[in-house]
């Protein structure tokens, strides 16, 4: 991963969602991607929490980046992330207790998401406050996008619903129970990774095909 000296803010966001999607392309922080995605609404809750934690952690890390000695940086980063996660936990416990119950232990585990620590180390510790916050936000959005996509597919197949609303009349639909069980999570992600690979290859091939023409 090599960052340009002054990356454009808009590319930071699109990179997070498509070409560097944390789940399908970088394959980081997969645990929650399978665990909370049996329904779309809990995926959304998890995704939004991650967006918040990533944005704020990047922002804070970038603010203190010149004060922290190099040797103790990892414990400092982890403390910053843990602080933000605890904040989200307390807020969610107070205002959205049902969601808090369904996310369970996985919300606390946001602390050790490899993707967050990786962005702090690679990006926020070397860039200014605003680009760092935007980078965290973009990567978080990519994660949110991936989670919700998996959640929608699994909930639809396993329950015939879309965010809890029945979209197919129940008498015409036999739910595939496996989709909301653990194996369904693994298999859905496996298929989506395959799909992202195909799309990525197509785009690369297109780009390669167009390049000589534009040069001539």
């Amino acid at each position: 991963m090599s960052e340009k000296p002054s990356p454009k803010l808009s590319t930071l966001i699109t990179e997070g969602i498509f070409s560097k999607n944390p789940i399908f392309v970088l394959a980081l922080s997969l645990c929650p991607a399978v665990a909370v995605t049996s329904e779309a609404i809990s995926s959304l809750g998890m995704g939004v929490s991650v967006v918040y934690v990533m944005t704020m952690s990047s922002l804070l890390t970038s603010m203190v980046r010149k004060l922290v000695p190099h040797k103790v940086r990892v414990p400092v980063y982890i403390s910053i992330i843990a602080f933000n996660v605890t904040f989200v936990q307390l807020v969610m416990m107070a205002f959205l207790p049902d969601l808090f119950q369904s996310l369970g232990v996985y919300l606390a585990l946001v602390v050790v998401f490899a993707i967050i620590l990786a962005r702090l180390e690679v990006f926020a510790s070397k860039n200014g406050v605003i680009p760092s916050a935007v980078d965290g936000f973009g990567m978080g959005l990519g994660f949110l996008f991936g989670l919700v996509l998996i959640g929608i597919i699994r909930e639809f197949l396993g329950n015939g619903t879309f965010f809890g609303i029945h979209v197919i009349p129940e008498e015409h639909f036999t739910p595939i129970l496996m989709a909301i069980l653990p194996p369904g999570g693994f298999i859905t992600i496996g298929l989506l990774i395959g799909l992202f690979n195909v799309i990525g290859k197509r785009r690369a091939a297109h780009a390669a095909a167009e390049l000589p023409e534009s040069g001539a």
Partner: protein, 194 residues
């Protein structure tokens, strides 16, 4: 005694952390392409989890609860796990060089991993006593090791088979894990989780 044996079996098979709770997938997919590494990782994780399970239990019930600092649980456990792993690395390197050769590489990977953090959090969630915490932590490590070894054996066979281009690597690994999880689903209901 029977209670503990049941808890152990339930943690290894029914509530297998990787295959039914999806914890530690990064390690699971990262290490399982090598059989020997999987075995080593399984042992290292079992050791680390048991030790952190005991330490976090003591800290939670003798420091956090009396002081009413429950909301610091996540922060404390992360730091405890990270520090414990670092200490283990230093101690084994100094006094048990043979063990260090087996473990050393994996300890670095384990330091900030969700499965190692999840086990103490689950111990607290289930209100386990000290003995149960130890059994649960150990079972979690053994279960992880079992899943790793199974997966590694399957992936060794996969290497010689003809996988569609788009699914090579991680794609097929996920689908294989899905089938493995399906097999482990057969254990559910065998032992009621107390």
């Amino acid at each position: 005694m029977q209670e503990y044996l049941l808890l152990f079996a339930a943690t290894v098979l029914v509530n297998n952390l990787v295959l039914t709770r999806f914890l530690g997938l990064c390690i699971f997919f990262g290490v399982s392409n090598n059989f020997d590494a999987s075995l080593g990782m399984g042992f290292a994780l079992t050791g680390v989890m048991t030790i952190t399970g005991i330490i976090t239990y003591l800290i939670y019930y003798f420091i956090l609860v009396p002081l009413g600092l429950h909301f610091f649980t996540t922060l404390t456990f992360v730091l405890v796990v990270a520090v414990t792993v670092q200490l283990l690395e230093i101690v084994t390197r100094r006094y048990l060089p043979n063990l260090y050769q087996m473990w050393g590489v994996y300890l670095v990977l384990i330091a900030t991993n969700c499965v190692v953090l999840a086990v103490p959090l689950l111990n607290v969630d289930h209100h386990f006593n000290l003995m149960k915490s130890i059994v649960h932590s150990m079972g979690a490590g053994v279960g992880f090791g079992l899943a790793l070894v199974l997966m590694a054996s399957i992936r060794e066979k996969l290497e010689t088979s003809d996988v569609p281009e788009a699914f090579q690597g991680l794609g097929i690994a996920f689908i294989t894990a899905g089938l493995l999880a399906l097999a482990f689903l057969g254990f559910s209901g065998m032992i009621p989780m107390g």
